[in-house]
Structures are given as C-alpha cells and as structure tokens.
Subunit: 142 residues, 2 copies
Amino acid sequence: MTPRELLKDAGLRITAPRLAVLEWLADHPHATADQVAEGVRARLGAVSTQAVYDVLNACARTGLLRRIEPAGHPARYETRIGDNHHHLVCRRCGRTEDVDCVHGAAPCLEPSATGGFTVDEAEVLFWGLCPDCRTATKELQA
Amino acid sequence: MTPRELLKDAGLRITAPRLAVLEWLADHPHATADQVAEGVRARLGAVSTQAVYDVLNACARTGLLRRIEPAGHPARYETRIGDNHHHLVCRRCGRTEDVDCVHGAAPCLEPSATGGFTVDEAEVLFWGLCPDCRTATKELQA
DNA sequence: TCGTTTTCTTGACTGATTCCAGAAAGCATG
DNA sequence: CATGCTTTCTGGAATCAGTCAAGAAAACGA
C-alpha cells in the first residue's frame, strides 16, 4: 500500500508532512523524531517540529507506525508493523536493528502470572553494543 | 546480606543516604526516584534529589540495584537482582510487578541473528493495564 | 465553493534527569 | 585517633525529549 492509501484507510487526512514522514521512514527504519524531521525538511522545506511529532503520534496511534522507546534513548519509529518482531539496541549510540523471533511465532508472550493485569503486548529488547561502538570502546580502553 | 555489606563488597562508601535508599527499596520494590527520595527523607530528614540519583546510579552501575525504564514512565528500581525475571507494566499508571520466566531459565535470550551486535541482556516487558486502571477506564467509558 | 474539522505553526512549558562547583563526609594511613 | 586524599552530598542551573495551547492554514464532504 502506498502512504496515501494507508493514511486514507486509517481515516487520517492526506497532508504533505504525513506523506513525507511515511515515505522517508520507509527508507530509513528506526529513525528518531529528530532524524525524521531532518529528512522531511530536506524534501518539503520548513516543517515544524510539532508537526513531525503530531504525525508520528497520529500514525503510531492508528497503527501505521510502530514506536520503539529504548530506555535512555529517544524514541524510534518504523513502518514495519504487523509482524511482532523484536529489536536489538546499542547501549551506547542507540542504533536499532530488527530481530526476528527465535522461538517461532510468539515467544514469551505469555507471562507466568499476570497478577490481575490485562496484558496486551510483550516487548522484547536485546541490549548490547553495535559493531561500531564495540570498536570505539576497545580503542578507548587501549 | 545487609545493605552495609552489599555496599562494602561493591567498593562503595557507606553513607547514610545509601543505607537508607537500599533499606527503603528492599521494602518497596519498583519505586521511582521520586518515591525513593520521599521515603529516604522520611527517615533521614533533608536529602538532596541529586544524592538520591547518585545513589541509585552508583548502585545500578555496580549491580546492587536493577533499573527498569518503561517507555513513557520514569525509571523504577528494585533490589531483586541476579535472577533474570521480567516485568509487567501498567500503560496507564506505570505500576510495575515482577513476572517469573515462563520457559524455564533464560527465555528469548538468544536473538536469531545479532547483526554483529554483542548482546548482553534480553529485556522482556509485558504491557497492559493493572486491575485499578482497568476499573477506572471502564468507568470512564460508561 | 463553503463551512466544518483537522492539521500545522509558533512559542512557551514540563518532568525526569544530569552537570557543575564547592562543602562535607568517609576511610586508609601513619 | 589525627591527616589528607577521595568520594559523596548540597544547591542550583541546565538539558533533553516531548507536550500544551492558541491561532492560522489547509483538507474534504456537501
């Protein structure tokens, strides 16, 4: 589906900032709001920060985008949705990559005891160092 | 081990704020920095916010405390460490509860492809609504 | 084309957390 | 049990990601 169709189906108005955000994000997964704003401005010229946040929030709310919020790092967004995959996050730079599920379909999706909670999502985050940061850290220590 | 011994073994100086934080947190798991500060002040009198953050960071760094940072909520701390258990977080109020691992020892600890990352932790967070917030939400809708 | 509704702009604001400089402990040593 | 070095605490300013609010501008159903 094109971004245009996606917006329409989600009941959102079709605007230049929205199209630009969705298109740019399709080519640059796991980008931060800041990076999205930069990318969108490169295409459209001036776009307010607020507009970018509005678009990201509206799309995340309607399921067009998925938001990942790794502890200690700004949120990142991706257009790959619908398949519950997980993420690999670099502790140092926040770089994020997709990880498909190991144990088949839905791993760890069932907590052993919900304590009365109504669970609607299981989030799995793998923490570590990306290749670049590993190299950088080693050099620091040497 | 007493808080005193824990600090000593970790190579941290034994100070009133540190003892108070560890003791209070042992009785109040999953507390936020704010709640910890309040609890500590109730015992010791004036303690700066900064001191509380310093203690929490120092203890988290040396492994005496575990920090949980649910997206959109302030960080929470707990003294239950060493057994890689997971958490159940309420989307609405941030209330956090422990969840033991379903699939035996280390579930989902192995991503299918690390993409060059060095993984050192697998974090699993279950999102949902706690009993109180579920009730509150229902009432709102009614 | 019009009027309603949503979205965008600008700018101020918030909440959690960190940075900084100096004062006040802790503790290994003599 | 003094001494001095080092870590920690205080107080206050600053940061950062993100939100709130009011008015202007654009979308789209009729």
